[in-house]
Amino acid sequence: MAWEVVIGLECHVQLKTRSKMFCGCPNTFGALPNTNVCPVCLGLPGALPRTNRVAIAHALLLGSVLGCRVREESVFARKHYFYPDMPKNYQISQYDRPLCEGGELSIDRDGVRTGIALTRIHCEEDAGKSFHPERHGDRRLSRVDFNRAGVPLLELVTEPVLRSPAECAAFLTALRRLVRWLGISGGDMEKGQLRCDANVSLRPAGSTPLGTKTELKNLNTIKGVERGVAAEIARQAGILDAGGRVTQATLLFDADRDRLALMRTKEQAHDYRYMPDPDLPVLRVSEAMRAEARRATPELPWAREARFRDALQLPAYDAAVLTESRELSDYLEACAPEGQHKLASNWLMTEVLRWIRERGASIEEWSARVSAERFREFLARVATRELPGPIAKQVFAWLPEEDGDVAALLERHGVRVASGEATLRPLVRAVMAEHAAVVAQVLAGEERPFGFLVGQVMKKSGGQAVPQEVQRLLREELAERART
């Protein structure tokens, strides 16, 4: 039988804020274990949470961009379960009155941009991190680092509308791009800044009721989501094809072995005993907060990508790559001379991105060294051929290392540039006059001596001429001679 795949995702986005969700501890990655902690995020007796307004503003920005309905009054709730990395043995989250509901995030489906409907977005706190178990003699020890406990998280839940592992990957990629674009999260899955669980079920193609779902946890990379979901689809299809029934369960994906392991069945499911958190007042979203979210909404990556393609005439591939990062696309717009976006794109896509990649740097580091204005001046000279190829590359290498505009760099390094017809055409004519016999051979159809003539012109220019330009002028002059 043909099965239709139905997938819903539950994504967790760590927010980029200075402090944690409910206390003043720094929200930074990579500090020594248990150094970014205080009575609040350690859940010490008597400590109370207080809400981080910046995290709420981030959530409202995302909600506004995705077209969610924002509740005027939402409620923080306690979600109870015992685990050592959960300091209070409950997580402050939201339950029946989340901050945002509805909205959609678009992905590409069969070449058409299709909105993936969202159920909700809410704010919550992250748990600490457990390290299991280490052997100490005959004892086994688990350790917990609470630096992550209390880091602000957004939980974003989709409706069960995704149809394939590839669509899950596309959704996550789009979400990652968006949260980075908005500057609300690093979106780095390796660092756990973006995490994802998937609910997967199969039903006979064409039928409406949903099949029994399983929940997949631990999908820590976009590849992992794709492979985990694919493995689960195959597993469920196998069961159903054999006439069996899928049991509702939570499964863990083991990326190293590409295998799913049973975590718990429905019978072992937690009863989270949600209740409104009496320590936190109702979260009221004022008109001013909404207005701020609208004001802070930038041109979105897909809109900018389309504009780069349609208005700036960039190839689709370039437009996609450049709008992967807001800073990169901002830089492109700022550095491109009038009508030279393609030229600017070429240099960014090849040389600048290579420079960044080789150093493990970022566009921010590049633009700190080479301001868009300086790069623009450089590109303008390339566009008018004042800087021939090899020299342009040389100047490019100096740009991030030294100060000064192009003229200053050339001056400093004693480079003179011979280019332009006015300089080169007399040299071409002189060489043709000096080597009339060779010219005759070329005119008779021999190609090889042409290179000799080019070489002679290059020599006369002191090596400063651009070979392509010399060749072009030489061909012009030879054609002229042939006619006469």
Partner: protein, 490 residues
Amino acid sequence: MSPVEPWQRSARSLAAEVRAGRLTAQASAESGFEAPAARWERDVHAILSTDRSARARAVAEAPMQAVLSGVPVLLKDNLCTVDHPTTCGSRILGEWRSPYDATVVARLRQAGAVVVGKGNMDEFAMGSSTEFSAFGPTRNPYDLARVPGGSSGGPAAAVAYGLVPLALGSDTGGSVRQPAAFCGVLGLKPTYGRLSRYGLVAFGSSLDQVGIFARHVGDVADAYRVLAHRDPFDASMREGQAPDVSTWDAGVRDLRFGWPANLWREGVDEAIVAALERAAGWLEHAGAKRVPFEFLPGTFAVATYYLLATAEASSNLARFDGVRYGLRARSDELTTLYTHTRGEGFGPEVRRRILLGTYALSAGYHDEYYLKAQRARTRIVREYAAAFARCDVMLLPATPTLAFKLGEKTENPLAMYLSDVFTIGANLAGIPGLSVPMGLAAGGLPAAVQLLGPADSELRLLQAARALEAEGRSDRVPRGYEREFAWPGK
């Protein structure tokens, strides 16, 4: 004539002497540890921890020109302190030492008060007799066979026998007002959200409020002025400024006090009825007007309270698991680490309430119990508001009985819960309440009344209590006690 010994004096007069340089802060802070503690502490057991060197350090750090300079204060042991352990009357916290002071404790210290130790309490403030302390009960200084009330029994008894003129407790369902009534001292539960809860180990977060014990109305007013300030660390605090209580001694002319024409006569001791009638007479004598009203929330408030308080408690106490601090049972497996730690660490009453609260929040029961209780609470809030349209304060019993005997109710939790009927309304409605001693009943036990007012009516409550204090001076101190108990005096 005011009493001669420092321990018999009010906090105000001690602080005034210290500020004037006529008494050292050291002598003031240590005063109760001599005669009164020597006479009473071994039998009463009000103190859970005290430490002479910590007291000396606290004296050295106390500012000498402040409202409470040199005033010794005992804290209920669920208020976090850096210089004494914080046990909540439980074994589960083990040797835990708080790395921070509760906000109210920090405020006391800034105002010159000296924290002299921690007072006994029912484990995690769950109880009405201080018999559920893991470290043994506190006894009532008026009758050692009887309980001091609870859960803040230690601080109440300490103020009563003269260890300190001022103490802090916490009141979730009457845990300040009821022991104050049993021990013959004043006990104020402020409006919810007026005193910071940061550093008060939570029992029922939406009901908990730090409360004040003293023997003098002026001392309650001074402590309230020091403590009632907004705290950025407590998001559940009330908006705006706390009421100004500086005119606590301005009288009760034209105050309308509600007189409960109905319910309290049933099941309320005669001695308490007598105290209420006396209080009403004194208030009228001082110029206030009696307005009859029907006292409404009866047993259904008790049901509402015990669903919400236990639900919140089951959540708040989840953190005591042996993983990060406190007691840890030996175990090589996670689930048994939890169950053994909590099984050994919590006493029977705490276990009972965690189970009740867990049940009330469980899938399938949540709507029927927790949600219904939430709705009932909303109704109780409205009913109190409606009643206060007709009167400024209500005059009510604090407790249906005088102090009961140790062991009398420990085997019958329901009877213990039902004795909270007059106090829990204020916690559900978030309004302030004040227990006022009305002298000793025939058997020598303190009798008290309770004043309730709408939110932010602390000034009215203090003015009414002051009127009772002033009217009752000659009547309410029985001979034979006045030298041992400093109240009333100036």
